[in-house]
């Protein structure tokens, strides 16, 4: 007996469904008038800065990286092309495949490249410990900082000791609140690989932190 086949003609579902990049209006505005790049800058300055800071553990270097990232983005903006995801989508506005690119993913790719460049340059110089630098400048609430000092510095030092790719994935997940698919696009990996990377990183952190006091 013949089996009924419910198949529609034309392009596959993934190709027909296009996800809207939430930054598209801002990007279009900045393209037509570069002075309006300021809105994009204000939206992402803290995220890019945080990413650079967790990577390099130094405020001054993180500022340099942030500056270079946004200047490069401004110059290269006319050449940015939004690429729609082809694979599975998720509920947090992510992109489905490593070659997909929203503006945020593109910006973080630039940031990652600038960080790599900066890391090569400062390889021979000593860096400030992550936890000390974080506590000295990140948290304005001095009393709260004093109370949580031990716990927070323990967590930061554990994350700081992770291998580069695991630390980077955790920072993008928890600090920049990216979806797995966005992280995959930034790091140039598959979503499955990133999921496993984060899972293993969490397991390492859990093992080092031990039971909650």
């Amino acid at each position: 007996m013949a089996r009924a086949v419910f198949r529609r003609s034309g392009a596959p579902v993934e190709a027909r469904v296009r996800r809207l990049d939430l930054d598209r209006p801002l990007v279009e505005a900045a393209r037509s008038d570069p002075a309006r790049f300021d809105a994009i800058y204000r939206k992402y300055v803290a995220q890019v800065y945080s990413f650079a800071f967790y990577e390099l553990a130094d405020h001054h270097t993180a500022e340099d990286v942030t500056e270079q990232t946004f200047l490069r983005a401004l110059v290269a903006l006319p050449r940015f092309h939004e690429r729609a995801p082809r694979g599975a989508s998720d509920s947090r506005g992510g992109t489905g495949s490593p070659d997909a690119s929203t503006f945020r993913v593109w910006l973080f790719r630039i940031a990652r490249n600038v960080v790599a460049n900066e890391r090569r340059r400062i390889r021979r110089h000593p860096v400030v410990p992550l936890e000390g630098a974080l506590l000295s400048a990140a948290t304005p609430d001095v009393e709260g900082t004093a109370i949580r000092h031990d716990e927070a510095s323990a967590a930061w030092s554990v994350v700081g000791r992770l291998p580069d790719d695991r630390r980077r994935a955790l920072v993008l997940r928890f600090v920049d609140e990216m979806s797995t698919s966005e992280i995959a696009a930034v790091l140039g990996r598959t979503e499955g690989a990133v999921r496993v990377l984060i899972h293993r990183a969490l397991r390492s952190v859990a093992g080092e932190l031990g039971p909650e006091r």
Binding site: E63, V159, R195
Partner: protein
């Protein structure tokens, strides 16, 4: 082996969904966090701890405003160069723009994601046009030189050449007539 890998993938997927849930809960300022009994309690604790302790770091207000001014200046330069006369090609305008804005930044094309594309775009257009025009120029010059170098034949030589051509034509028509007959 395959089973172990599959179970690791499933665990990773569950952890990923749990992280999605706690991040979304924080986004909507929910007090409680989703209970995920299928996830290892140690992993849950670690995730919640990192959610709390890995804070987003904001740069200083002074730095943010200084960079905003710098970007505004750069944007003005970009606007100025993009309104150049039409005679300048898009590539030339883009190059000038990049040079103007990024001259103080240590620009390394190796780390610029758009640089490869720009390099690919630029070369063939310029080189192809230059080669084509140069080839035409050389061919024209060769023809002119050849014509100038060829001296005119004396009248007797021209007459001999005409007779030779005529006799060849006659021989051809005679042979053709013989074939038809």
């Amino acid at each position: 082996m395959t089973f172990e890998r599959d179970s690791a993938d499933v665990d990773a997927l569950r952890t990923d969904r749990y992280l999605d849930a706690i991040l979304a809960a924080a986004e909507r300022h929910a007090i409680d966090v989703p209970a995920a009994i299928e996830i290892d309690p140690a992993l849950r604790r670690a995730a919640l701890r990192l959610r709390r302790d890995l804070v987003r770091v904001h740069p200083s207000f002074r730095f943010e405003e200084r960079l905003a001014r710098r970007l505004a200046e750069a944007a003005a330069e970009v606007s100025a160069t993009s309104t150049e006369p039409r005679g300048a090609s898009a590539q030339v305008r883009a190059d000038r723009r990049s040079a103007a804005v990024v001259r103080e930044v240590d620009w390394d094309p190796a780390v610029d994601p758009a640089a490869d594309l720009a390099r690919q775009d630029r070369r063939p257009l310029i080189i192809r046009g230059a080669v084509a025009s140069a080839a035409l120029g050389i061919a024209g010059a060769a023809i002119v030189v050849a014509r100038r170098r060829s001296r005119p034949l004396p009248p007797m030589a021209r007459a001999a050449r005409a007779v030779r051509r005529g006799s060849a034509a006659r021989r051809f028509s005679r042979a053709r007539r013989a074939r038809l007959a």
